[in-house]
Amino acid sequence: MRNKKTILFIVYSLIFYAIIFLFHSLGIISDYILHIINLSLIYVILATSLNLINGFTGQFSLGHMGFAAVGAYISGILTTLIWHIKPGNPGSYVLFIIAMLVGGVAAALVGLLIGLPTLRLRGDYLAIVTLGFGEIIRTIINNIDYVGGPRGLLGIPKFSNFTIIFITALLTVILLRNLIFSSHGRAFLSIREDPIASELVGVNTTRQKVIAFVIGAFFAGIGGALLGHLLTLAHPTQYGFMQTVMVLVMVYAGGMGSISGSIVAAFGLTFLSEGLRILLGAIGVAIEWRMVVYAVLLIMIMLFRTSGIMGGREFNFLLPFNKEE
């Protein structure tokens, strides 16, 4: 039984990859569509990692894009301001991957710093504190001239291509899934169900919450690094509270505690968002309406389908084992 389902999942994914790649080379998929697919995959990373914290562990974090900002800026500083590398030779890609990992680790460290003192707090308080931390991170960036302050960090080399983003997203999904379907994952779920009972059957709840939070922050950092190197800039306004809400919408629209849901919602909402951008532009209406649609969508989901598209379930091909194995 070992790994059989995982191997099958990887095979499916590679087929998906090959089709997109082929269609793009043939010109069936335009550069623009590919860009949206890239964005969607980055949102897969951001949404699944936030789902780990909010959906599986039941901790309400509102600072996710703050961690992504750390990843984007730290990796951007390395590639742009320190190493001055450009895509081209394989060596530069290795350096980029190192920069991305450093960005992830930096975000994880920030997560640790924030998580240790605050994860003891009750649900709603955690929400407001993480929101506050997100804002603090943004304020700090705004005030550091070295990274461009409010102008943003410009001229980041475009290392993020479809292949790199795809592999990273695939690895993220598999690693997070493995974690969730393990004793750690069961501990996360038990904390969501009843933190006191969880502690009283021997789960070190503080430690497990910090683990979920730090891992979530790490992948958010990775997502941020990819985003910065896709858009070739990092700007404080890309990592604000509203952007966190966009990722939140993905998590809840897809369904709390469902990786499959986050993936579906990341693709669906990214395409919807871009579609609206084109549509609103074409009929000459203010771009703000796009966010109005988002807001209404979020409210509607909560009112009419609280458990999201997947309702906490997973696609069978994403599960590591068959149910009763």
Binding site: Y125, I128, I136, N143, E288, M291, Y294, V296, L303
Partner: protein, 300 residues
């Protein structure tokens, strides 16, 4: 030392604290009664500011002299209306669903109000300057300057807070509010229509936020659709600082917040922006129930 800790800053701090207090009371009352962090509450404050903006400009354009009291009443009414609508449409259907759903819905409502206002062609996302509703006068005592704005801010919020305290402590509606905040089902079994009590709570909270919006418009005369976000968060922080659900606590927390922010900004503007959260985190670590909040033992 002398430069930073002077009386002038203290007065400015109390003025800012008064505005925070009006917002923070709405947060604390709604939280006390329906256990919801109403993220959209800061936006009710924005609505109040815009309502006043349009009323005053409308009057100015027609050279009508409009009483200030009317402006307050109308704008507070507008905010209260929006607050009640949000409750009715978005929060009420989720009353018996997991608490998180309402919290996320509140984020949605907040986002909706902000972007809807900035998408509307006659409002737009950019800054507007608030008309001069009251002519500014500055009184100088020694080397301290007191603006009549400061007096208005402090006086209006004091009057409203006294009204609220009276309402909650001395009236039957207030008693019902306290009962509903403790046990909704038991309150229903007493024959109380809890939905009307909740509606009244949103009405008062919204009206107070609206009043804060006008005061902010008068005092810091630049308004824009996102103006509610930061004061909202800070006012919520103040409510937590004082002990969420506790009315005197929200007032105390707001003044502490206003004063410390003013002093911190005088020292360094970055510090001024961060101080609210720094205080929040320190308080929550050492006194999670807030300054005046009571410890509630979790039932095991």
């Amino acid at each position: 030392m002398g430069e930073i800790f002077n009386l002038q800053q203290l007065i400015n701090g109390i003025q800012l604290g008064s505005i925070y207090a009006l917002i923070s009371l709405g947060y604390t009352m709604v939280y006390g009664i329906v256990r919801l962090i109403n993220f959209a509450h800061g936006d009710f404050y924005m609505v109040g500011a815009y309502a006043a903006y349009f009323i005053v400009n409308f009057a100015l354009a027609r050279h009508v002299n409009i009483p200030v009291v009317f402006v307050f009443a109308a704008s507070m009414g507008a905010s209260a209306l929006i607050a009640m609508a949000a409750n009715r449409i978005a929060y009420r259907p989720l009353r018996y669903k997991p608490r998180l759903s309402a919290l996320i819905t509140a984020l949605g409502v907040s986002m909706f109000l902000e972007y809807f206002f900035s998408a509307l062609p006659f409002i737009g996302p950019s800054f507007r300057s608030f008309p001069e509703l009251i002519t500014q006068r500055i009184f100088t005592i020694g080397n301290i300057k007191i603006s009549n704005y400061a007096i208005v801010d402090v006086a209006v919020s004091a009057v409203l807070m006294i009204f609220l305290t009276y309402l909650v402590r001395r009236t039957k509606v207030g008693m019902a509010m306290r009962a509903v905040s403790q046990d909704k089902d038991a309150a229903r079994l007493m024959g109380i229509n809890i939905e009307s009590i909740i509606t009244i709570t949103f009405l008062i909270g919204g009206a107070f936020a609206g009043a804060a919006g006008i005061l902010a418009g008068i005092t810091y005369p630049r308004i824009y659709p996102y103006m509610g976000i930061l004061p909202g968060i800070k006012a919520f922080t103040a409510a937590v600082l004082g002990g969420i659900g506790n009315i005197p606590g929200a007032m105390l927390g707001s003044y502490i917040m206003g004063i410390s922010e003013t002093f911190a900004t005088a020292y360094n503007s970055l510090l001024g922006e961060g101080i609210a959260f720094a205080i929040l985190i320190i308080v929550l670590l050492f006194r999670p129930q807030g300054l005046l909040g009571e410890v509630t033992a979790e039932k095991v």
